[in-house]
Amino acid sequence: MKRWLAVHAWLVFAFLYLPIAVIVALSFNQSRFGVRFTGFTFDWYIRLFNNERILEYLTNTLVVAVVSTTVSTILGTLLAVGLVRYRFRWQNALRYLLYVPVVVPDVVMGISLLLLFDVVRDAIGWPRLSLFTIILAHISFQIAYVTLVVRARLMLLDPTLEEAAKDLGATPWLTFREVTLPLIMPGVISGALLAFSLSLDDFVVTFFTAGPGSTTLPLYIYSSVKLGISPEIHALSTLMVGITILVLLLGALFWKRRV
């Protein structure tokens, strides 16, 4: 029984890694077409680095991810604190609203924001579809994830710690800064990392809210894939997978050292 479980597991792992391995191998292949390995080369990587458009798309992607993650982490953390610490009207409605970006298919999220931007632009001539609208859209789904992650952490917190600070005369702001925030920091960091990777990964919502001149890497990959596959895309994908693995390994080591 145990052996079958192991065989099954390694077959599934093979399934998970085979396509990625093919891309990595082909990114070093001399031949432009087909899967026959004709020789080792770095040509496709050199071409990639000489492609200035790619650099622009990378910059766009990172600008969107950094700005949207910063805003959504601040708003989401505050929202989580408010939802856990206070009772107020409309609280339940707000909690349900929070789930909407998490559960609704991203194509619905994308077109509803496209509609909003269009209606507002018709009325007041602003905003044009651009990096700005992509950032607004990303914050809208990131906020929900950050809030849920931070809220989970807050609910584990011992409320007497905050009460002690208040009894000692700390103002709400001081209590938050010196007691609550340091204690929920791991949750805030996890939430921010999740928000950041969601933004980097997002294609669908970006697709509907992007305009001319605001191409991100996922949008670029999509449009080139529609034209057919190319070794440059193999190389780009390999680099992105490599960075993903590197970040996850560093994160795992960092976490292990802390625990």
Binding site: A9, G34, L75, V107, L113, I139, V225
Partner: protein, 287 residues
């Protein structure tokens, strides 16, 4: 003794914490949904813009055309069977990882594809399935004629299973980790055979994780348009493709909004049923 906060002070604290985020959700989640609802009731102008008259005509068109019903049916069908396949692959895997000595490493092996860019994961299957691709390379190496694997429903299935498998394994693994194994021993002590013991003592403990994993996979699998677009290439039209088409070349935003409302209603209905069986805690467990 500190003084109790005045009502005004409390209101200020609520506004400072909940205010900005709550306002954001209202402006960019609630209002867009309402705009979409109104748009779904409007008509298509000569340039594709939204114009009156208002009415239910988009919904009537959707539900009276067998073609559209077929698209919804196909999305649910492919989404459902992909999810079943994912569960068959992922369920034993979660147990294997939880019992392994190297569980951190194995977990990382599941997390890496999870965080690898979605488009790259779909793209990888084009490389495998295309005419000059890996699979046909193998087939022709055996002297057989190359197969037409792209576009095909088969390719859509494989890529859907591949893309969403980690989404299922991770929450299920969390459930398996919390299993109380002493119940298994109790079942053995009571004379149960291995299969019965597993079914009665272990399986029920994983049911909440199974439900959560099912929804986490099923909803995006039904709503996706990228996989069918890239690997089904016009052969496989799902509800996501229909929506994209209306907002793209078909230029009928009103009808596209109506289809989106139908998709959203289906998701919310599913979640409502889930919340009724699992309680509201179940919703939290989902994320």
């Amino acid at each position: 003794m500190r003084e109790a906060a005045t009502p005004w002070e409390r209101l200020r604290q609520v506004l400072v914490t909940v205010g900005p985020g709550g306002l954001w959700l209202v402006l960019f989640v609630l209002i867009p949904t309402l705009v979409m609802l109104v748009a779904s009731l409007m008509s298509r102008g000569s340039l594709g813009q939204l114009v009156p008259p208002l009415g239910l005509h988009n919904y009537v068109r959707f539900f009276s055309d067998p073609l559209f019903i077929e698209i919804i049916g196909r999305s649910l069908w492919i989404g459902f069977w992909s999810t079943v396949l994912i569960m068959l692959l992922g369920y034993p895997l979660a147990f294997y990882i939880a019992q392994s000595r190297y569980k951190e490493v194995l977990l990382l092996l599941v997390v890496i594809p999870f965080f690898t860019n979605f488009l790259i994961r779909v793209y990888a299957w084009i490389v495998v399935f295309q005419k000059e691709g890996l699979l046909n390379g193998l087939i022709t190496a055996f002297g057989l004629p190359p197969a037409e694997l792209l576009p095909s429903t088969f390719a859509v299935y494989v890529a859907t299973v591949y893309t969403y498998l980690p989404f299922f394994v991770l929450p299920l693994y969390a459930a398996v980790e919390r299993i109380d194994w002493s119940q298994l021993e109790a079942a053995y002590d009571l004379g149960a055979r291995p299969i019965r013991a597993f079914w009665e003592a272990i399986f029920p403990q994983t049911v909440p994780g199974l439900f959560a994993g099912f929804l986490l996979v099923f909803i995006p699998a039904v709503g996706t348009f990228v996989i069918a677009d890239l690997l089904g290439g016009g052969k496989v039209t799902l509800v996501g493709n229909l929506i994209q088409l209306q907002f793209g070349s078909a230029q009928n935003w009103a009808f596209g909004s109506a289809v989106s409302m139908v998709l959203m209603a289906m998701v919310l209905l599913g979640l409502w049923l889930y919340a009724r069986t699992q309680g509201e805690k179940g919703l939290d467990k989902l994320v």
